[in-house]
């Protein structure tokens, strides 16, 4: 395993990306970190008002305001406020303290997919000449980007189900953010159980198929939701149908049947809200 480690220019950088950015995450990222660290999401997730209309914006009431989730910030270090998981080490070194399960947006930085190809972003904080495509393991980067997009699409659907629930609620109700976090945990626990049954080989094939949808700018979950009568021949479409069914049933159980609203009494601890200028 250790021989497969790709030398990363991040190892010698002063991690400006971990200090300057607000790390927006998906529900899966939040669930994975909470699972791996056995933490309450309120300990490391913040929510902030969305600046533009995007599929991962969630609402807490009937108002105009929509929100996103991000990693919180740690203790201020002079004028800088690094990521909550940023670890300063002796001799000026620093490392991510959740590296093996860091959010997908961090894993894929500083690349993006363009017509199926891995490309380097030009608007990055990395020191000049840090990255060289010829020395990067491009299939691994492509895989990370595909996985990120897949998780983003799944999260968009999870958010949509939540927003539907909020829209159907009485107009004067404002749900606490903690209920949203509990909803995410309940849904992703179910998704995790479902994904456990998928072999590595099938997972790889699903990812490649998802990639072809990304190139056509289609979220397979949305497409399938709109055409539920079509026959699901390809095995990956069966996977998409399973995803939809799992999210739908988890959402119905947790939201419509009120399973997690029973937890409201346990939510006295305030969550962190962050204002973004």
């Amino acid at each position: 395993m250790m021989n497969q480690i790709e030398h990363s220019p991040c190892a010698g950088c002063h991690q400006r990306c971990c200090i300057n950015y607000t790390v927006t995450i998906t529900g899966y990222d939040a669930w994975l970190i909470a699972t791996e660290l056995q933490r309450d999401m309120r300990e490391f997730v913040v929510y902030y008002p969305a600046q533009k209309d995007e599929p991962d914006n969630f609402r807490l009431d009937h108002g105009e305001m929509a929100f996103k989730i991000a990693l919180g910030k740690g203790a201020a270090n002079g004028e800088e406020q690094p990521c909550i998981f940023w670890l300063s080490l002796p001799e000026g070194y620093a490392r991510c303290s959740i590296y093996p399960f860091r959010p997908f947006v961090c894993q894929s930085y500083p690349t993006f997919l363009n017509e199926g190809l891995v490309q380097l972003r030009t608007d990055v904080l990395c020191p000049q000449r840090s990255w060289n495509m010829s020395t990067m393991d491009l299939p691994a980067w492509r895989r990370r980007l595909l996985r990120y997009q897949m998780e983003y699409d799944i999260y968009a659907y999870v958010v949509e189900r939540w927003n539907d629930f909020v829209a159907r609620s009485p107009a004067d109700v404002r749900y606490p953010i903690n209920l949203y976090y509990s909803y995410l945990i309940a849904v992703y626990d179910r998704l995790h159980e479902m994904r456990q049954t998928i072999s590595k080989a099938r997972e790889e094939s699903i990812l490649q198929q998802w990639g072809s949808c990304i190139e056509r700018r289609i979220n397979p979950l949305k497409q399938l939701q709109q055409n539920r009568d079509q026959s699901f021949g390809p095995r990956w479409m069966e996977f998409v149908a399973d995803l939809l069914a799992t999210i739908d049933s988890a959402s119905a159980l947790e939201l419509e049947m009120g399973t997690i609203t029973e937890c409201l009494d346990d939510m006295a601890k305030p969550a962190q809200e962050m204002s973004v200028a």
Binding site: M2, I5, T35, Q38, L87, R95, D189
Partner: protein, 205 residues
């Protein structure tokens, strides 16, 4: 609300401990295997996260740096800042809410992973530790099979490290010159890299 645990009971108890006093109370002595694994994966030079201190003459894994007869141990570096309790491990991250976690996770030294279990004459026991503030550990908190396997790995890694240190000490004795701690670390890196390569060649064959 916390997601369903996907780890052992002991791991879950350790992760949920806020203070992690074990990470400041003890000095974590390392084997070469720990140093190699952490250095390689975290892409950090050993001198950044380790410190060395004089070991008692009876220490079987004490390394020499000259022919004076003095031997040393290597341990995880401690953090020396005002915000942290004194003596906190350099890999322990304590966020503003105080719930500390180990940045090494699964990579952490084998002695940390096997805490609080020890093998006495082949029998798994819970050490007589007074450092923990979260609980008094009991065998009921651990999976006996898993813990025994971990303690055996620790014993193997220590035996291998002793052998490697003895070879280094013979080299120092013969050369009759002063070596630096960095040179000792470089020696370890070379030896363990070679060992990994040999293991992989055997796997391929």
């Amino acid at each position: 609300m916390i997601p369903q645990a996907v780890c052992s009971t002991k791991e879950m108890l350790w992760l949920s401990c806020w203070e992690k006093r074990c990470c400041s109370y003890y000095t974590v002595t390392l084997t070469g295997s720990d140093i190699w694994r952490i250095s390689k994966t975290m892409q950090l030079p050993p001198q950044v996260f380790t410190r060395y201190a004089e070991a008692p003459a009876s220490a079987e894994d004490g390394f020499a740096l000259d022919a004076s007869g003095k031997h040393y141990w290597t341990a995880l570096a401690k953090r020396d800042t005002e915000e942290q309790p004194p003596g906190t491990c350099c890999f322990l991250l304590r966020p503003p809410n105080g719930h500390a976690h180990c940045a090494l996770g699964d990579l952490r030294p084998t002695v940390c992973k096997s805490f609080p279990s020890i093998l006495i004459n082949g029998v798994l026991c819970i050490g007589d530790y007074s450092g923990c503030t979260c609980r008094a550990w009991a065998l009921a908190h651990v999976d006996i099979g898993q813990e025994t396997a971990l303690a055996q790995i620790l014993a193997r890694e220590r035996a291998e490290y002793r052998e490697i240190v003895h070879r280094w000490n013979r080299r120092v004795e013969q050369a009759k010159q002063q070596y630096s701690y960095m040179e000792f670390c470089n020696y370890l890196m070379n030896v363990y890299a070679e060992r990994d390569q040999q293991t992989q060649s055997l796997d391929v064959a």
